[in-house]
Symmetry: C2
Subunit: 309 residues, 2 copies
Amino acid sequence: MGLVTLADIRAAAALIAPVVVRTPLLRFDDRLSVKPENLQPVGAFKIRGAYHALARLSDEARARGVVAYSSGNHAQAVAFAAHAFGVPAVIVLPENAPAVKVAATRSWGAAVELVPMAERESRAHELVAERGATLIPPFDHPDVIAGQGTVGLEVVADQPDVEVVLAPVSGGGLISGVAAAVKALRPSARVVGVEPELAADAAASLRAGELVRWPAADRERTLADGLRAEPSELTFAHLRAHVDEIVTVSEEEIGAAMRRLVRDTRLVVEPSGAVAVAAYLRRAAEWPARTVAVVSGGNVDPEVLARVL
Amino acid sequence: MGLVTLADIRAAAALIAPVVVRTPLLRFDDRLSVKPENLQPVGAFKIRGAYHALARLSDEARARGVVAYSSGNHAQAVAFAAHAFGVPAVIVLPENAPAVKVAATRSWGAAVELVPMAERESRAHELVAERGATLIPPFDHPDVIAGQGTVGLEVVADQPDVEVVLAPVSGGGLISGVAAAVKALRPSARVVGVEPELAADAAASLRAGELVRWPAADRERTLADGLRAEPSELTFAHLRAHVDEIVTVSEEEIGAAMRRLVRDTRLVVEPSGAVAVAAYLRRAAEWPARTVAVVSGGNVDPEVLARVL
């Protein structure tokens, strides 16, 4: 299976530059810096992959519109990118998606359909068949992975001597792209994925050497609603090729990391966005001096935020 | 009275580059972008002026140490800069400074003295006399103003066609530097100061054409604890030369702006840091399409943050 290359990621960087925020690295403590992707236009790194995928569509394909299904942030990203390109979009969201994410998706002019978690994908494919629209998958596409990989390009540009990069794993698009970039530019750096203990299917898959499926009902237990997806064959191939380890974190550790990010770095972070910092804090003494954690998103319901303050 | 020049500010930019975060502009809505200075190492723009002032001290002066008095963020900035240069620091804080600011100042290794608000300045001068240390004033010094002015350089670099820059006014160091930079680089841009209605002494001074003093007890009424100082002759000269207008905002408007910043831009902002956005929201229809608001700081007690969510 062909993996995304550094050249693909560099090409993506050029295409997405007009809309993506060039996020700085922020010092968290003496050894950790964070990459605040919660500051992107849709509040998450997802804009990178989604905008890149739309940028590469033909005018003809754009005219027929796009469809996406997502646990939330990808939905907003496709809606934002579709708005930017003047393309009609239908977004299929799970019924339990946070209200803030549903509202934000609609705010970009996309049509939203709410369906049970397990029916998202099939409903999206129905819409594609009905309309001739293009499905923009949340992670299972080389253009999406290449877009997310620009996070890794920027990390190495800003910290060329980086030793460890920590990033969340859900469907695996972010870590696939980041790992492809980091390993190409700095082979000695370790790339470590992070999952909630309650949705640790990727860790189980890497241990088993093949994709291990967890029931959706199990993965839905975590508060980290952005980390309930599971890798595809394509992203799992990237994980096996490039990812050194996956660390799992508890729900309590996720809350504690959110609190620290709010207080110490003045970032509003969603549970999924805090897992990489949670993994750092879990064994802070073990990480080397130049560790970077990707803070992937900040779309959190205010009640959830208030609880962890 | 000599005003800070563009050349001074450019020289400051070179000196502070090693420690200051190059903050991006973040889109707030179709017309407003924000400059998130809450992402600086001490959670506020103050690191720019303080670090610059210490960078320009002789080795001999550094060996004798530094002293600062402040309503909070300047204290942390001097403590941080002193730590970076290996210089001993004593910080004089008002007794009512937020606990989070006191703790942060101490965390950088500085000695802290808590005194009544009105005695801060005299106690700092005593310490200078006793120790031969150098006073690093929060705003009344050209090196501090030049450091803060680097915010303006970056705004124009990132948005060369900017039409309005909104920035908070307290002692006036930030807006003096920002206005000097913006008016030199883009004379057609308007520079607008923002104050709480409860501490609107600078607005009164500009109307009167001379410094109008408000009793400290009046200025202490605002929740925006970073905006309780009043301009000096030096900063007032910059305001008269470069600032087009001062807008005042209510306490309610400050809270609403904090809430919008948390929800829409995922930034943790202190009340003082939100006033420029509050001024934008107060008369949103009037501002032109390319308006920038400086979000000056993010050191807020969690209880205050939870109240506005």
